[in-house]
Symmetry: D2
Subunit: 367 residues, 4 copies
């Protein structure tokens, strides 16, 4: 269990290192009959791609999606979908120096402790490049959700101290912001903040927020497989994420019960609704039909050019300056990864949720 | 998959409702030869028990542990350990009123949406009483960790706005505080805060913090089964938890990389250490040998006596006042549940971690 | 992973030893709304119960089913169903002798090798009594199948050399036979055969055959989770089973392709059917709509009173005569266990099978 | 869950169709430090390859192994190993005819029933070519077993009615036989038998036997995850397998207990041994240290050129003659697939087995 397989019914297995042949994913359990080809997946990978703005590494990665199985005449067949994205120029650089010491904030040391050695080229399997496979699988999950009328939208909620309040949210502006921030004023301030850090060879973190619209009620399993528990794992499994919140999250801890409880009411069409959504769309681990809202705390990029203290393989205390160009912030690139992980998890739980009632199963099989 | 089974190698299956026969757990995958009897488990259940202070429900629950299998001559046999805690006085009350409407903040509505109906007596399976099974299994996991020299300690970090800073932490005071707060001054203030809310028939939330000492390096699997991802699921699966953080968590988002990175150094004994622990003991999803630190955000108790708006089964908008005595805060009782879920998860990942290197497997089998 | 949890969506966890408190099972993932109470489960346990005929041990075991959770107002709630069957008189006997040596054919030696020691009282967890939990869970699975119009019938196909050919099968006679053999002539011969062995303090094996009627097409997953593969595991996991066949099984190895292939034809109602069923209802791992047919080879009872050679704990070569009364054959009692394991597996795969097509999922969620 | 992922700790995910881009497998959970490159895997694929003898299809398939991840400097890194074998000339043929009807003995009909349509080119995912991925993963498992001193050897035990008794076994002759039969006389007879069937445009089945030497005691989990149960699933999941036996299998059903029980004795070196091995190396689901012996019943090849009856898509009853060259027998090619599935299963259970005793875990972590 190297931990690269995820899901119960809709399952994915990812593979690949930063500087190996490529990155790939096998999607097992995708239902048959879903229209799918490379053009549906590619846009998501383009969003993850580095080098698009000042605030991301200018490395050139094409990240061209190739589907290798599971599709016939433009539709999924129900059998595993293998996707590969070949790495380009992956043998270009000299990693002999990086091999000798442990970069602070990276998994170099823990990989060595776990496995005895590591593929040090560009971080190997612990590189952010690993998320490419998640995004490709996420694109398929998002295509399934689209068929069911469910939308998943993530964006940059904050960069360092610059944050967007709920009132300032203007979702349509996210795509116009180089930082994927849905408020262009805040985005401008964040850009200035980042330039300052960049000049100091330093980096920033931030928060990604994700909203799911159109979610049916009744999804998620009580006790251990609560929908929010599953989403928490999904999000926390993304490298650099250090915290996850659902709904009002940590803010609920300073509210009173009467402030935090969402009241129910029945609207004029006879639909049961909630007058607020502090819970973030999930109650008792089960979706309540309102929007699912969650947030991921993303730490500042570990790779910085500044002088840092660390230890080398000979156990000498040394000072290092990590060469190369680094993302001063990875938050904007993480947005699509959050969407992917949320989508993959929702699809899996939607599938599991079809068997909650005997009546539904009878209707299905006695048709 | 009603979601009541948890784990990979060390697995638990819980069952039981608030007002049914009892609560139970089956622990599958406990190694043979661990000294175990009821007296080792009972103290953990006593900590979870209500009615101990002013700030918890005065209901009388004995919560007596009975081990039904898997033990022989005082030691575990390697086969499933079944534990039951019978409910007492479980048929005493009239729930006909509560059956008719959806309590705000509770899972009444989502259970009905998922299953078509629900066991409404005391919340049924969605009651906090469900955690009894987790705590019993957690006691076994904690006994295993003890054998390995690993300690898990959780406590109340904050109640509402009253919080304890790292400097104010005095762990030994937790047990003296009726709120399990490791600082008696803060505890006093929190008690006053709670009394105020109680008088207003309202409730409070708070934060539980958990520290793991003695954790070996190399535990956790990269990518989806990161140790922090697994812990996030474990913690978020506890009812009322709305957020999880590892290490500096959400605070890292406003720090710079140079502030947040933990530097490595080699001490005079030749051991590699970190000069800080912003990461909370986990890097790249793998334990780094320093303390694991995590926090759970717990929302204010949903059950309040105050007047609230909701909807009844006839889809009428109504006002309710929920009778009975309610915990004005559940944070102190959640402390032991957090310890339990952390311990269960660590044991599972420690077991999985034994196969990371071919050399270790060879040493084991070619002995 | 002590291996006592089974299934993907419909999952069961069993526990208990021959001479402990009792035997139990937790069923996780049973859909809500299934009518269920003890009276539905009890008859299956009565069929498994020993002491009913000359050919089974005359021990008195009541095996009274108690449901402890997951039921409300006569129907399943969707949450875990805990069932316990308490052992009676379980402290009556002296097992000090049996503790000292390894009984041939039993798991005494392998348990000691695996766990370092064992609960030797009546075989502990490796006793046939373990199947009680399977049968209780199987009764629930059979109730689900009944709702879907699917019937599972097993019976004794052979005892030692006395076997019933397909032509001699008279299913309604099984219940009249003390050996559950669906042909009373064969049953008589088998009884004589058993009496002979019994007089020699010896034992017999035999074959259980199981037929599933009303199975929908399309159930089972290609590649590793073929329906026949899952059934093979289910059946082989029953103690004393040494072989499993689907359809014509081992006989197909001496047939030619033209003899063994099942031809398709279209009947006058426009339904596609097969003109034979050598495949036993499963093709490519997926149900084809015809009856599923499988067989389990059950070895002769290991417990015999005859003198046998073995080794004791002091590694001395010794001769033993195992006291007590033993089943001269366990085949008739295994019949209901086979039904149970088949039913549990089918329910699990029927649930998984609901997500094979995007169209079905859309119909379900866009209702 | 399209069923293409297998295993608990050592897990594999396969993908690919007969006439798509290629076949692949991702191995997740391979320990770090195992020497591995393509040259270690290729020989196993060469054994599976068709076109080597008269008795296998003369199609030219190169089946060249390419490792894409998980290896660094000649050793496994502990991260997923992705392997691909590209298909050659996969667009050469016209499958328009085969698309229109259901071939008897194949999964055409069941795939259509499950998924609504199918990739009919060469059988798509249900083609025997799917086993290529299993064999590649199996080669890695066999490399791990080799490090542990465990050998897995399978061979053709029978072809049609021509079978090799235990006395006639001459293992070293298997590689000299074009049918992988470990007795050249029997092999000759079987060749004649096959030629006869070939002339009649018909096909044959047979039995593969597999022997595992050097297996440690104590592997396998009691109850559902018995080692023989896991092996039964592994073997039955191979297309065309209709039965599985462990040890004396179906023959035990006609033996008495005194004949079938394996007696223990202690040899002069103080080692506990068995005087016979009717059990096939597994008792109570746990390995007993003697050789594991199992057999797979393989049905005659479904693809035959003879005239057969079937139904087309317009539900017309038709006669067909399937063109192309077909294997008159697939048993010899299945030998390496059986070895692969056995090896993958054993590795997984050996890994799980490391946590059976608390003492072992303590020794490991308190080192």
């Amino acid at each position: 269990m190297s931990g690269s397989i995820y899901g119960n019914i809709f399952r994915i297995a990812t593979w690949g290192e930063s500087h190996g042949t490529g990155i790939g994913v096998v999607v097992d359990g995708c239902p048959a009959g879903l229209p799918l080809d490379e053009s549906i997946i590619q846009p998501y990978l383009d969003r993850r791609k580095p080098g698009q703005t000042l605030y991301a590494t200018p490395r050139k990665e094409e990240d061209k999606v190739i589907i290798q199985s599971g599709i016939f005449e433009g539709r999924t067949t129900g059998t595993p979908i293998s996707i590969v994205i070949y790495n380009e120029n992956h043998q270009s650089r000299d990693y002999s120096e990086i091999a000798k010491y442990y970069r602070p904030g990276h998994a170099d040391y823990t990989f060595d402790q776990k496995y005895g050695f590591r593929d040090y080229r560009g971080g190997g399997r612990s590189s952010g490049r690993e998320t490419t496979g998640r995004v490709a699988a996420g694109a398929i999950a998002l295509a399934i959700l689209k068929e069911l009328g469910i939308k998943v939208n993530a964006y940059t909620k904050s960069i360092g101290p610059i944050t967007i309040s709920e009132q300032e949210l203007q979702l349509e502006q996210a795509k116009l912001s180089p930082l994927y921030m849905p408020n262009l004023d805040a985005s401008k301030k964040a850009e200035e903040y980042l330039l300052g850090l960049k000049n100091e060879q330093d980096s920033a973190g931030g928060i990604v927020e994700c909203i799911v619209e159109g979610m049916p009620t009744g999804i998620g399993e009580p006790v251990f497989d609560k929908l929010d528990a599953a989403l928490a794992k999904a999000i926390m499994s993304i490298g650099a994420v250090k915290g996850v919140e659902i709904g009002d999250g940590f803010q609920t801890t300073t509210k009173s019960g009467s402030e935090n409880n969402d009241s129910f009411y029945c609207d004029s069409d006879g639909n049961i609704k909630k007058s607020s959504n502090h819970a973030g769309g999930i109650s008792g681990g089960i979706s309540d039909g309102s929007n699912i809202i969650l947030r991921a705390a993303i730490k500042p990029t570990s790779s910085i050019s500044r002088k840092q203290h660390t230890v080398n393989k000979d156990k000498e205390n040394i000072e290092i300056e990590i060469g190369g160009r680094h993302d001063p912030v990875i938050v904007p690139r993480a947005v699509v990864v959050v969407e992917a992980m949320v989508a993959i998890t929702l699809v899996d739980y939607l599938f599991v949720g079809m068997t909650s009632r005997m009546e539904w199963i009878k209707n299905f099989y006695r048709k």
